[in-house]
Amino acid sequence: MTEVLARDAAHEATGPAPTRTSRSWTEIGSEIGDRVYSWSITGFASLVPILVLLIFVAVGVAAWPALRLFGVSFLTSSDWDPVAGHFGAAPAIYGTIVSSMLALLVAAPLALGVAVFLSEFAPVWLRQPVAFAVDLLAAVPSVIYGLWGIFVLIPILREYVMPFLRDTLHLGVLPLFSGPAYGSSMLAAGLILAIMCLPYISAVTREVLLAVPRSQREAALALGATRWEVIRDAVIPYARSGIIGGVMLGLGRALGETMAVTMLIGNRHEIAASLFAPGYTMASLIANEFSEATGDLHLSALMAVGFVLLLVTFAVNALARWLVWQTARER
């Protein structure tokens, strides 16, 4: 009863004069409002799974003709000939894997180092600026990484780094570092990818490290561990699965990164042993050829490349999220 009175009072303050009918109308109104509100937020929320489903169905359906025609050989054949109508994506798949692995090889230790530095060692005044600068790396658009790569990174690689690795360090005996030093190369793409996925890995890793309980560190210190030993034996093992999740998130970024790689990798449909040689990735293959696709089959083949990329990144991301969640739940 008092509830009703209070509602009337509240209504009186804002709305028209309450009569018996107007109160019941407001009640009906709020009920309808509640229902509309509940439906609409449910509707918006359902749009997310619908969107994901639509992406899979649309790309999958478009990819189907090529996948049906070429079957497994689509993944294993290196023959990409739009004129003859043969499509095999092996070089692009190889390039995607190699460039991403190269990126992780460089970025993961660095990112781990930065994260440990920021969560454990850095003096307080340095923490904010460094964390901000690393986060900024993630805000730079990828086309700008590409631009910078073309005009700054590639000349440096071609003039100094590649000759140094091949001749001065005599790594040229390995096929990995042999051959002429093209500027646009797997190495250039891998390095730019490393820079680009570093902030993602370090952000997740830092979060996970901060979630490690203080007592864990204090116990190790009490046992006489040095600062490094605390990190190595107490903190990192505790945060391991979260760190792996962060690295996998970085991998997801690297696998699908398009513009910077397209601008730097040289776009040649060939599997070359050397990191100095140009290559292709799945994403850059689509970016390069899609608008010039010569026929339905060519288009479908590109869609199939997109579909493979979609499946791989979906799996990597899902696994990564699961690992990070796992650590967060232990908190």
């Binding site: 109104g29 660095l110 600068a133 030993e229």
Partner: protein, 304 residues
């Protein structure tokens, strides 16, 4: 005197000394290794920041020379003529961002509200997971998806398709930040509104959403800053346009696309324009991010 020779003589005091000496040596070694590793962490941090510094330096050095009044007011010129600008691309980018926000923000905020209100339903768990996964999907895939659905059926490229593709990319980001921000609103506030007889929807919209607004605005701006520089989804949707066009149903120019096309062209004048475009694009992203920071600060200022 080394540890082994002491062990031979076997005097108690000597053995004692040997043990402490060995322990000291181990400790010294561990301390040295610790300092070494801490030093390495410093090096890692420096190495991580180095590329950012280099990029900023090059952007300013190479871009600032070509950013002038003409750059903002004129259109692109053929190579060889020099001069010209990216007026159409700048306007095109702003239009695309507006379309993307129009599509992405309502859906994202609505879905975020759902996640915050119904935390444990099956749908909520699914949406939360899929939003995170969607966030990591390659932007090029979003491009071919939008092409298949929005460009292929109508047989022409359009600003609308580009905007919707980018809007779809905004959805997961906005969803997650909205959820987090709405969750920060104290439950007592919601209860107070309900106790005063507010209906649920009015409580949600005029009390909860309003309290969380600062944070949601920040999240929205961060998402806008992130899609402002996206290129891959626009390649086959907005396509780019060398002429002035603001038609939503036709191909439209965009700053990132223009930078890409100029960067891979063989002309020096266009390279200079690409750097200038990059500087302006970073400027736009920076201004949006700055606005996001201001929005955050205002929220915390009001909360005190």
């Amino acid at each position: 005197m080394t540890a082994t020779s002491v062990r031979g003589t076997g005097t108690p005091s000597g053995r004692q000394r040997a043990v402490t000496e060995r322990a000291e040596r181990t400790i010294r070694r561990r301390r040295v290794r610790s300092s070494l590793m801490v030093g390495l962490m410093y090096v890692a941090a420096a190495l991580a920041i180095l590329p950012l510094l280099l990029i900023v330096i090059h952007l300013i050095r190479l871009g600032a020379t070509s950013v002038n009044w003409a750059f903002f007011t004129q259109m692109q010129r053929p190579p060889g003529e020099g001069g010209g600008g990216m007026a159409n691309a700048i306007v095109g980018t702003l239009i695309i961002i507006a379309i993307a926000s129009g599509v992405g923000l309502p859906v994202g905020i609505g879905a975020g509200l759902y996640l915050a209100e119904k935390r444990v339903t099956m749908l909520a768990t699914t949406v939360r997971f899929l939003a995170d996964v969607l966030n990591g999907l390659p932007s090029i895939v979003m491009g071919i998806f939008a092409w298949e659905l929005l460009v292929k059926p109508v047989r022409h490229f359009s600003a609308l398709a580009g905007g919707i593709a980018l809007g779809a990319m905004m959805v997961p980001m906005v969803t997650r930040t909205t959820e987090e921000m709405v969750r920060l609103v104290p439950i007592s506030l919601r209860e107070a509104a309900l106790a005063l007889g507010y209906s649920r929807w009015r409580t949600a919209l005029s009390i909860v959403l309003r309290t969380a607004l600062g944070g949601i605005v920040t999240g929205a701006l961060v998402a806008m800053a992130r899609i402002a520089g996206e290129t891959a989804p626009l390649l086959f949707t907005a396509l780019g346009n060398q002429f002035w066009s603001t038609a939503l149903r036709g191909p439209i120019a965009a700053l990132p696309l223009q930078i890409f096309n100029y960067a891979i062209s063989p002309y020096d004048e266009w390279h200079a324009q690409a750097w200038a475009g990059a500087l302006v694009l970073v400027g736009i992203v920076f201004v949006i991010s700055l606005a996001a920071r201001v929005a955050t600060r205002r929220r915390f200022g009001a909360g005190d």
